[in-house]
C-alpha cells in the first residue's frame, strides 16, 4: 500500500530545479511566469527546489555552452533517481540560432536522455506547463520501474 502511495505521489509532487546553460533569459522568464497566479503551476504540486538533491525534474534552458557543460553534467548527476530532464526552448534541442558557434557544445541529448522537449523560442507558459505535466507522468512510470 505504501508502495502504491509512493508511486502515485511521484507524479503529484514534482519539484523543479532550473538550470540555465547559457540561455538568453527568454525561456527563464517564461518558466517563472508558470509560477505566477495566472498559470499557477503549484496547482499540480510543482515547486522550485533550492538544491538538485531535492529535485525531481531538471529544467534545462539555453544551448549548452562549453563553460556550462561540466556544471550541467555534474548537477544532473547529483539529482537522485527517479528524475526527469525537460528541455525548454529550442536551444537545448537544436542549438537554435547559436548552432555552430565555437562556444556551443550542444545539443542536450548528447549528454543525457531528455524526457520531454518543449520547443519554441520562447515556448508559451501553457506549453511549458504541459511539458512539465508530461514529465510528471513519466516520473511516475520511472518510479514504478524503479520499485520493481
Amino acid at each position: 500500500m505504501i508502495k502504491k502511495m509512493i508511486n502515485k505521489s511521484a507524479s503529484k509532487s514534482p519539484w523543479l530545479f532550473h538550470i540555465n546553460t547559457g540561455s538568453c533569459n527568454g525561456c527563464d522568464i517564461e518558466i517563472v511566469a508558470c509560477l505566477t497566479p495566472r498559470y499557477d503551476a503549484e496547482r499540480f504540486g510543482f515547486k522550485l527546489a533550492g538544491s538538485p538533491r531535492h529535485a525531481d525534474i531538471l529544467v534545462v534552458s539555453g544551448p549548452i555552452t562549453v563553460q556550462s557543460r561540466d556544471r550541467l553534467i555534474r548537477t544532473i548527476e547529483q539529482t537522485p533517481d527517479p528524475k526527469c530532464v525537460v528541455s525548454v526552448g529550442s536551444c537545448p534541442k537544436s542549438g537554435n540560432v547559436f548552432k555552430g558557434s565555437y562556444g556551443i557544445d550542444g545539443p542536450l541529448d548528447k549528454y543525457v536522455h531528455v524526457d520531454v522537449s518543449v520547443a519554441g523560442c520562447t515556448p508559451k507558459p501553457e506549453a511549458i506547463m504541459e511539458g512539465l505535466y508530461k514529465a510528471a507522468q513519466i516520473l511516475e512510470k520511472k518510479r514504478e520501474a524503479m520499485s520493481k
Binding site: 505504501i2 508502495k3 509512493i6 538544491s51 561540466d70 555534474r74 548537477t75 547529483q78 533517481d81 520499485s147
Partner: protein, 637 residues
C-alpha cells in the same frame, strides 16, 4: 577504623607523590603503577565513606595527634568529614582517577613525567584535604598547595606558547586571592582565638562585628578568586588553554569547585549569613554576571580549549547563582550542577585533548574540521558532552540546570523581587547561548570538511577513549536517574550545609551547639514541577522502535540509500551550484554572525577589559574585593 580513612586518603596521596619522585622518574611502568594504585586506593577509601557519611548522615572527626578539645576550646588540627565535604571530595577523586587514566595515554612521550605525576598527586591530595579539613588555617595551606601545584602543572609544557605567561598570571592572581583568605583568617583568629570551623561556627553566626565583617568580605573575595568568578576569571581562561588536557579537566572540574566549596563552607557554615537578603543579592549578582560574561566571551573565542575555559567560568556562574539563592533547593541545584559540571566539562576537555593529541597540537578552530570521519568515538563522546552542557534532555546538565531555574523562580515568587525573575531569564537564555557555542565547535572541529593537513589523523588510543566513555555513560546515568542522585547524593550534602548542629557536636562534644545557641535551619526542599526522564526515555524508545519497524517494513518500497563507493564520483560530490567541489569549510570564526554583529559594542568593551596585562587583572581583583567589602559594610552591618 573508618575514622582513619580521610587522613589515610590525604596522606597516601602525598606519600605517593614522594614515591613517584623517588622511584618513578626513570621507569614508566613503575611510575604508572604507583600512581594508578594510589589513586585507586584513595578512590576506594573515599567511596567506602559514602555509606556512613552520606547515607547514614554520620560526621567523622579525626584529631591530628589526638589533640582533642580542652574545656570547649579546640587546640589541635581536626579533620572532619561531613556529607558536604565528602561530596566534593568524591567529585575530586572521580575526576582525578579518570584524568589519571587518560594522562597515561595523553602524556606518553613527554619529558619529566615523574615531576608531572608528583605535582598531579599533590594537587589531588591538597583538594581532598581541603574538602575534609575542619581547620581554617589547614584550609588555607591546602589552598596554597593546590594553587602551587596547579600553577606548576599549567606551565608544565614550558615550550608551549604562552604556558609560562599563563602560569605566572595564575600564580600572581591566586596569590593575591590567598592573601585575602589568609588576612581574613588572621582577623578571625584575632577575634575568636581559635581556628576550628566547628567552634567558630558557634562564635561567628549572626555576630557580624566590623572585624568579622571585614574578614568575611576578604574570605568571600578570596574564595571568589579561587572559584574564578567574574571579575577574577582572567587567569583561568589563560591557564586552560595552555595546560595539558588532563590538567585542564581537573582545573575546571575540581579546582574551581574547590573555590565554590570554600564559599559554601564559609557562608553557610562558618558565618551562617546566607539568610541575609543582601548576601543573597551579592552572590547571585556575581553568579549571573559570571554566567553571562563567560558564555558571551566563549562565543567569540576561536581556540578550542580557551572556549571551553570560558564555559567553565559560565558554569561556575550557574553554581554560584544557585548557591547564592540561599534556599535548599538552590543549594541542591548548585551542588548537583557542580558534580555534573565535573563530568561533562571533563568529558569535553578530554575530547579536546584527544583532538589536540591526534592532530599534533592544533587547537585553533579555524584550522580544524571534518574530524568526525577520522575520530568517530571522540565525536560521539564530544556530542554527549555538548548535549549535557547545553542542557538537552535527558542528559545530566539539563537535570541540574532545571533545578537551578526552579530555585531561582521559586525565589522570585517567594521574595516578590523582580530581580530574581531577571536572573531566571538570564539563566535560561545563557543555556541556549551555550548550545550556540557548542554548535560552533561541533561544526568547526568535528563536522564540515576535512582539511588536507589533517588527512592522516587517526582515532585516539584506547587508554584515552575508556575514560571518555566512562564519563559519557555517567552523564546519561546521572541525567536519567537525577532524582536518585539528587536525593541520595546531593541532598545529604545540602542538609549538612544547612543543619550545622551535628557538625559542631561531633567535633566539639555533645551539646556544644545547643549551649552556644545554634539551631538548625528549616530544610524545605519542595520541587515545584515535574520532569521524568525515565518516562521520556520510554516514550522515546517506543516511538523509535515504532519508527524503525515502519522503516524496515517499508524498506523495499522506499528509495535506496546510495552508499559512497567512489569518493570522486560526481553523484556524491557536494553541491556547489554546479561547480567542482573545492575545500571549503565553514570554520569557527565564520559562525554566528548575526549575533556577533548585534553585540559589537559589547565585545569592544570586553576587548578593552581583557587586555592580557597582568597589572590590569590584578587591579580588577583588588577593586572587586574592595567592592565586596564596601558592599558588606554598607548593607550588612
Amino acid at each position: 577504623m573508618i575514622q582513619h580513612f580521610p587522613v589515610l586518603a590525604v596522606m597516601s596521596l602525598f606519600l605517593g607523590a614522594f614515591l613517584v619522585e623517588i622511584f618513578g622518574t626513570k621507569r614508566e611502568a613503575v611510575r604508572n603503577a604507583i600512581t594508578f594504585v594510589t589513586f585507586t586506593l584513595v578512590l576506594i577509601l573515599l567511596y567506602a565513606l559514602i555509606k556512613p557519611v552520606i547515607l547514614e548522615g554520620r560526621v567523622i572527626s579525626y584529631w591530628m595527634g589526638n589533640w582533642e578539645p580542652v574545656a570547649g576550646y579546640a587546640i589541635g588540627i581536626g579533620y572532619e568529614v561531613d556529607a558536604l565535604g565528602l561530596v566534593f571530595a568524591i567529585i575530586a577523586i572521580t575526576a582525578f582517577w579518570l584524568s589519571n587514566l587518560y594522562s597515561f595515554g595523553y602524556m606518553k612521550g613527554e619529558h619529566h613525567l615523574g615531576h608531572f605525576y608528583t605535582l598531579f598527586m599533590m594537587l589531588c591530595g591538597s583538594i581532598i584535604g581541603f574538602c575534609m579539613t575542619g581547620d581554617l588555617f589547614n584550609m588555607y595551606i591546602m589552598v596554597e598547595i593546590m594553587t602551587f601545584s596547579a600553577v606548576a602543572l599549567t606551565g608544565f609544557n614550558t615550550d608551549k606558547d604562552g604556558a609560562l605567561e599563563a602560569a605566572l598570571k595564575y600564580l600572581v592572581i591566586c596569590s593575591v586571592g590567598s592573601g585575602f583568605i589568609l588576612t581574613g583568617i588572621a582577623l578571625i583568629y584575632l577575634q575568636c582565638h581559635t581556628l576550628n570551623i566547628a567552634q567558630l561556627a558557634t562564635m561567628l553566626a549572626g555576630r557580624l562585628t566590623p572585624t568579622t565583617l571585614m574578614s568575611f568580605g576578604l574570605i568571600v573575595a578570596g574564595f571568589g578568586v579561587k572559584s574564578f568568578m567574574v571579575p577574577f576569571h582572567t587567569p583561568l581562561a589563560d591557564a586552560h588553554a595552555v595546560a595539558p588536557s588532563p590538567i585542564s579537566m581537573v582545573l575546571s572540574g575540581v579546582v574551581t569547585k574547590a573555590g565554590v566549596y570554600g564559599m559554601i563552607r564559609c557562608i553557610y557554615i562558618l558565618f551562617r549569613a546566607m539568610d541575609l537578603t543582601q548576601m543573597q543579592i551579592l552572590i547571585t549578582t556575581f553568579g549571573t554576571v559570571t554566567m553571562f560574561l563567560g558564555v558571551s566571551m566563549a562565543l567569540k573565542q576561536h581556540d578550542f580549549k580557551r572556549l571551553l575555559a570560558f564555559h567553565s567560568i559560565s558554569q561556575v556562574g550557574y553554581i554560584l547563582l544557585a548557591v547564592g539563592l540561599g534556599t535548599t533547593l538552590g543549594l541542591t541545584g548548585g551542588i548537583f550542577h557542580a558534580a555534573n559540571h565535573m563530568l561533562f566539562k571533563g568529558l569535553l576537555f578530554l575530547a579536546a585533548g584527544a583532538v589536540l593529541h591526534q592532530t599534533g597540537g592544533i587547537t585553533d578552530l579555524d584550522r580544524l574540521g571534518g574530524l568526525s570521519k577520522k575520530m568517530p568515538h571522540t565525536t560521539i563522546c564530544f556530542l554527549v558532552g555538548a548535549a549535557a552542557i547545553s542542557g538537552i534532555p535527558p542528559f545530566n546538565g539539563f537535570a541540574s540546570k532545571w533545578l537551578i531555574y526552579q530555585a531561582a523562580y521559586t525565589k522570585a515568587i517567594e521574595s516578590g523581587n523582580f530581580y530574581y525573575l531577571i536572573v531566571t531569564i538570564a539563566a535560561l537564555t545563557v543555556s541556549v547561548m551555550t548550545l550556540a557555542s557548542f554548535v560552533k565547535i561541533t561544526q568547526a572541529v568535528f563536522f564540515g570538511q576535512l582539511s588536507e593537513a589533517n588527512k592522516d589523523v587517526t582515532e585516539a588510543p584506547k587508554v584515552m577513549l575508556v575514560p571518555m566513555y566512562i564519563i559519557s555513560a555517567l552523564c546519561l546515568i546521572t541525567g536519567v536517574g537525577y532524582k536518585f542522585f539528587a536525593s541520595y547524593f546531593v541532598l545529604p550534602a545540602v542538609n549538612s550545609a544547612v543543619n550545622v548542629t551535628n557538625y559542631i557536636d561531633v567535633m566539639m562534644g555533645d551539646g556544644y551547639a545547643a549551649a552556644a545557641g545554634v539551631s538548625n535551619m528549616a530544610a524545605d526542599n519542595v520541587m515545584i514541577s515535574s520532569w521524568s526522564p525515565v518516562v521520556y526515555l520510554i516514550l522515546f524508545v517506543t516511538v523509535l522502535a515504532a519508527a524503525c519497524i515502519v522503516i524496515l517494513a517499508s524498506s523495499g518500497d522506499r528509495g535506496r540509500v546510495v552508499e559512497v563507493t567512489d569518493k570522486d564520483a560526481l553523484k556524491h560530490s557536494n553541491f556547489f551550484s554546479g561547480e567542482e567541489p573545492v575545500y571549503s569549510h565553514v570554520s569557527g570564526s565564520d559562525m554566528l554572525w548575526g549575533y556577533k554583529h548585534n553585540f559589537k559594542a559589547y565585545y569592544n568593551i570586553m576587548d578593552k577589559i581583557h587586555t592580557g596585562r597582568m597589572t590590569d587583572y590584578c587591579s580588577m581583583v583588588v577593586i572587586a574585593a574592595a567592592v565586596i567589602i564596601v558592599f558588606m559594610f554598607m548593607f550588612m552591618r
